[in-house]
């Protein structure tokens, strides 16, 4: 089994543990787009401190691991800024309209057999797959 897959399983378990702590501890569903979006549109004003604490740790822990492990953590983000801006806008609008992303609908939704979570995941994976095929293999942009 390739080491990347084992890292994937271990990292995945940590993500699941994070969601379990958020659910069993704070009684909420751990969804990154909801936690960020609630701060942006003001719907999460009452819990702003918790949200900022979550996001600060989400930013700082990988930064520390990056320095401590010395592991190359290149994100390989495209240098085409038109693509990056279009992608960011689509992710921002789409996740908030669908009320969830990979963590909320994917990890937390599928694990409770939520039909909404499963349907959302099917649609964003299909749309993502078609987008990669179109823009990589047909248009050659990404």
């Amino acid at each position: 089994m390739p080491i990347e897959w084992i890292h994937g399983l271990i990292g995945g378990a940590l993500i699941g543990l994070a969601g379990a702590v958020y659910l069993l501890g704070a009684g909420r569903i751990m969804g990154a787009s909801g936690i960020i979006g609630g701060l942006v549109d003001g719907s999460g004003r009452d819990t702003a401190r918790d949200r900022l604490g979550f996001l600060a740790a989400l930013l700082i822990v990988p930064a520390i691991l990056y320095v401590v492990t010395g592991r190359t953590a290149d994100t390989h983000v495209t240098s085409n800024f038109v693509v990056i801006i279009a992608a960011g806008l689509l992710v921002g609008v789409g996740t908030r309209i669908a009320n969830g992303c990979t963590s909320g609908h994917g990890v937390c939704g599928i694990s409770r057999f939520s039909l909404r979570g499963i349907v959302a995941t099917v649609f964003y994976i299909l749309a993502g797959g078609l987008t990669v095929v179109l823009f990589r293999h047909i248009l050659g942009v990404i």
Partner: protein, 143 residues
């Protein structure tokens, strides 16, 4: 208490995204690229995450959250135009850049200018979403 639990959860989430390699956009696009060099890593991450979460959902039965209050209501089964259209738009952006909201925060310190620009655009999109969502609702009602 709720604050500390949020910090703990965010930290674990960040560690998981870093360890799993999910802040590397080539791994995410590799998973989506079924006609290229397909990379199944994302499936292992999802599987690894869903198992502890399934146990967590089981543990919510007959209990209350540590900080008090109540657990989220049982899942709704209403599939509306917002869920489908929003997920399609999200998927398109996810495919284009290989980033979704969690990893975009987790990789902000080492993601360079591209990561910062993505974050800025995502925040603008999230700010515009209520207005766009309301317009979509009107179109859906009219049709």
């Amino acid at each position: 208490m709720r604050f500390m639990l949020s910090v703990l959860s965010g930290g674990l989430f960040g560690a998981g995204l870093f360890v799993s390699g999910m802040t590397d956009t080539t791994k995410v696009q590799g998973w989506l690229d079924v006609f290229g060099a397909w990379d199944p890593t994302l499936a292992f991450v999802m599987g690894g995450a869903i198992i502890p979460m399934m146990i967590a959902w089981q543990l919510t039965r007959g209990r209350t959250p540590l900080v008090g209050g109540s657990f989220p209501a049982p899942p709704q089964h209403k599939i509306g135009h917002r869920l489908v259209l929003g997920s399609v738009l999200f998927g398109m952006g996810w495919g284009l850049a290989g980033l979704c909201p969690g990893p975009s925060v987790a990789s902000l310190s080492y993601g360079g200018a591209g990561g910062l620009v993505f974050m800025a655009a995502m925040l603008v999109g999230m700010g515009a979403a209520p207005t766009i969502g309301a317009r979509i609702d009107r179109i859906a009602e009219a049709s």
